[in-house]
Amino acid sequence: MSQSIHIEIDRLEGTLLRVLGLIERRGFHIDEIDLYDLGPDTRGLSVRVRPRDAGRNIDILGLQIDRLYGIKRLEQAPERAQTVRPNAEKLSA
C-alpha cells in the first residue's frame, strides 16, 4: 500500500533534496513525484511513498518532514492500493 503526501515548500536551495532524502532515509520508497508551482516563493510537491517494512509509520514520517525548515504545509492523502502506471513497463524496459 502506498500513500500520498502533499507538501508546500519554500523555493530555497536544498529544500527539495532535504525532503526527498529524508523520505528515503526514514525507510520509505518513493513511487511517484509531482512538483508544481504555487507562486513565486512556493512550490507544491506531491509524493507517493511506500514503507520498506511494516515497522514504518507514515504519521511519524509526516512529523519528521514537518520539522524541516522550508516546509510550509503538509497533508497526507488517504491510503490507497498501489497502482501500476500506464508507462511503467516502458520505463523499466
Binding site: 536544498g14 529524508l22 520539522r67
Partner: protein, 562 residues
C-alpha cells in the same frame, strides 16, 4: 579598488561579534581565507586546532558545557569533510553548533574545482538546517537565523557554506534584521490532565530522564518534580547528573550497561514517565520487551519523537520548563514500590574490592569524581572507559558529563575536554580516554600546550580496543580480530613531547596520590594508567536481548598489574 564598503567576510566577523560569540574553533585554508583575513585583529578569540575534527568536537563540547551556541570554521573540500564526524555528533546529541565553511568560488562550483565538494549536499542528513550563501548582503541575516535555529526547539547543528568570491565581494553594509521570535510551546492543559490522571492511578511509576532535560535548562524543574512526587528515576547516558546521581531515588543508568536495579525497575514499572528521552536502542534493548507492563507518558519538545519507537499513552509537547511545573498530581501511596527499588539498589550496588593489586578502573573513576568535588566536569571518549565513567562517577551538576552518546565517536574526549575548559575555566575538567580513542585526536595536545588550557587527562590504557574485545570474547567465541594495540607508543613520552606534564601508574596503591597530583597540577597534565586488558564492563545486556537478560560481573581472576 579601495572602498568603505565591507566585504562578505567582514560581515561574517562583525555578525559573529554582534551575536555575542567569544570563542570559536577552526582551521584556515584556501577557500575560507577572506574570512580569516577579516578575523585577524577583530578581537574574536579563535582557537587554532591541529585537525578540523578537533575543532568540531571542541565547539560541540563548548556548547554542551556552557549552554551557548558553539562556533566552528573550516575551509572547503577536505577541511569541510573533516568536520562531518563532529557535525553528525552534534546532530545525534542535539547540540547547538554553527559550522561555517569556505566554498570554492561560485563560477567553479560544479566543475570539480580544487578542494571542491558539495558540502551542503554531503551534510543534509546530519544538520538541522543549512545555507549555501549566494549573496554577501544576506550574510548577517543568515548567520543570525543560523544561531536561532541551532538553539530553538530541539537544538542541533547548522551549516553556513560561503563561496570564496561571496566572502570577498564588497557589499552595502547590511544588518541582521529582526529575527522571528520563537516562543517555546506551552503544554496543552488536556495532556497535563491526562498525565496527572495516569500518575494518580499508578502503583509503580518510574521516571526515565534523558539528555533533553538539561538541553532545555529544566534541571531545576526536574529536581523539583522528583522531590514533589517521590518517584524513583533512571537516567540515560546523557541524562546523568540532571538530578544528582547521589539522590536516594536514583536507580542508575538504564540500558545496555545500566544498573541491575535500574533495569529491573523498568521491567516492573506500570507507568514510565519519559522526560526528554528518545527511547534509544542502547537504553531500551529489545524494544518489544522494554517496560512491558507500563503505560507511557512522554515529554518532548520534538513532536517527531512521539510514538517513534514506543507509543505513548500521553504525549506532552512543549517546553519542559513549563510542562514539569504544570504537572501536579496527588501522589498515590507508592511507598512499597520505592522500598523495593531501594532494596534492589543496595543489593545490586557496584563492588570495588576486585582481587589483585593492579589498578581497578571503576574504583579509580569513583575516587576521581569524589575528589574532584562539585565543579567536576568529565569529557569522555568512547569505549569501556566511557561506560565505567557513566557507571561509577557521581554527578551533582547539570552539564557535567560530556559524552558522545548517539554517535559514539571515538576521538571526542580530548577536544571535548578542551572546549569545555575554555568555556568553564574555573571548573575541574577531566578528559577520561582510552588508548584507542586517545590516538584518534592525540594531536590536540599541541593545542592544549599552545593556549595553556589546563585540562587534565586520565588515559586508561588496556592496549586494545576494549569494548570490541569484550564483545568478541562474549559473542564471537573469543575470535579476537584486529583489536590489539599493544604497540602503542609510550604515552608519557608522547605527552611530554607535546609539552604537557605526564606521569604513569600501574599499581592500585598509587591511585589516590596520582589523582591528588593530577587535580592539583596547574598545567595540562596526562595521567597514564595501565589496566588489565581482560577487564570487562559489567553488567551487560547482550545485543538483541531484553534489559531483563543482563550478564553479571565475574571476578574469577585477580586484576594484576601490567
Amino acid at each position: 579598488m579601495p572602498t568603505n564598503k565591507p566585504t562578505g567576510a567582514q560581515l561574517v566577523i562583525s555578525t559573529l561579534k554582534a551575536l555575542g560569540v567569544d570563542v570559536l574553533f577552526g582551521y584556515p585554508g584556501g577557500a575560507i581565507m577572506p574570512i580569516y583575513d577579516a578575523l585577524a585583529g577583530s578581537g574574536l578569540r579563535h582557537i587554532l586546532v591541529r585537525h578540523e575534527q578537533g575543532a568540531s568536537f571542541a565547539a560541540d563540547s563548548y556548547a554542551r558545557a556552557t549552554g551557548r551556541v558553539g562556533v566552528c570554521m573550516a575551509t572547503s573540500g577536505p577541511g569541510a569533510t573533516n568536520l562531518i564526524t563532529g557535525i553528525a555528533n552534534a546532530y545525534m546529541d542535539s547540540v547547538p553548533v554553527v559550522f561555517i565553511t569556505g566554498q570554492v568560488s561560485t563560477h567553479l562550483m560544479g566543475t570539480d574545482g580544487f578542494q571542491e565538494v558539495d558540502f551542503l549536499g554531503l551534510t543534509l542528513p546530519v544538520v538541522k538546517h543549512s545555507w549555501l550563501v549566494r549573496d554577501a548582503a544576506q550574510i548577517p541575516a543568515i548567520l543570525a537565523r543560523a544561531f536561532a535555529i541551532a538553539k530553538e526547539g530541539r537544538p542541533g547543528p547548522v551549516l553556513v557554506d560561503i563561496p570564496k568570491d561571496v566572502a570577498a565581494s564588497f557589499v552595502e553594509a547590511s544588518e541582521m534584521g529582526e529575527l522571528p521570535a520563537w516562543t517555546p510551546a506551552a503544554p496543552k492543559a488536556e495532556a497535563i490532565e491526562a498525565a496527572k490522571a495516569l500518575i494518580e492511578q499508578a502503583q509503580k511509576p518510574l521516571l526515565y530522564i534523558g539528555g533533553g532535560v538539561h538541553m532545555a535548562d529544566a534541571d531545576a524543574e526536574m529536581r523539583d518534580f522528583v522531590e514533589r512526587t517521590g518517584i524513583p528515576f533512571v537516567s540515560t547516558l546523557k541524562g546523568l547528573g540532571t538530578v544528582s546521581t547521589y539522590h536516594d531515588l536514583h536507580l542508575g543508568m538504564l540500558g545496555m550497561h545500566g544498573t541491575r536495579a535500574g533495569n529491573m525497575a523498568v521491567q516492573e514499572t506500570d507507568l514510565l514517565i519519559a522526560v526528554g528521552a528518545r527511547f534509544d536502542d542502547r537504553a531500551t534493548g529489545k524494544l518489544s520487551a522494554f517496560a512491558p507492563h507500563a503505560k507511557v507518558i512522554h515529554f518532548d519538545i520534538d513532536p517527531a519523537e512521539f510514538h517513534k519507537n514506543r507509543r505513548a499513552d500521553v504525549a506532552i509537547l512543549g517546553d519542559l520548563k513549563l510542562a514539569l511545573p504544570a504537572l501536579r498530581p496527588t501522589m498515590p501511596d507508592i511507598s512499597e514500590w520505592v522500598k523495593l527499588n531501594k532494596a534492589n539498589k543496595w543489593q545490586h550496588r557496584f563492588k570495588y574490592d576486585a582481587p589483585g593489586k593492579g589498578v581497578y578502573a571503576p574504583a579509580l573513576l569513583k575516587s576521581l569524581s569524589e575528589k574532584a568535588g562539585k565543579k567536576f566536569i568529565v569529557a569522555c571518549d568512547v569505549g569501556q572507559h566511557q561506560m565505567w565513567v557513566a557507571q561509577h562517577c557521581e554527578f551533582e551538576q547539570n552539564r557535567a558529563h560530556l559524552t558522545s552518546g548517539g554517535s559514539g565517536a571515538m576521538g571526542y574526549g580530548l577536544p571535548a575536554g578542551m572546549g569545555a575548559k575554555l568555556g568553564l575555566p574555573d571548573h575541574h575538567v577531566v578528559t577520561v580516554s582510552g588508548d584507542g580513542s586517545f590516538m584518534m585526536n592525540i594531536q590536540e595536545m599541541a593545542t592544549l600546550r599552545r593556549y595553556g588550557i589546563n585540562l587534565k587527562i586520565v588515559l586508561l590504557d588496556n592496549s586494545s580496543l576494549g569494548l570490541v574485545r569484550q564483545w568478541q570474547e562474549l559473542f564471537y567465541e573469543e575470535n579476537y580480530s584486529e583489536i590489539d594495540l599493544s604497540d602503542n607508543p609510550d604515552f608519557v613520552e608522547v605527552a611530554k613531547a607535546f609539552g604537557l606534564s605526564a606521569f604513569r601508574i600501574t599499581q592500585r596503591h598509587e591511585v589516590e596520590g596520582a589523582i591528588d597530583r593530577l587535580l592539583a597540577a596547574d598545567a595540562p597534565t596526562l595521567l597514564h594508567v595501565l589496566i588489565d586488558p581482560r577487564e570487562n564492563v559489567w553488567p551487560l545486556v547482550p545485543p538483541g536481548a531484553s534489559n531483563a537478560e543482563m550478564m553479571e560481573e565475574r571476578w574469577d581472576e585477580p586484576i594484576d598489574s601490567y
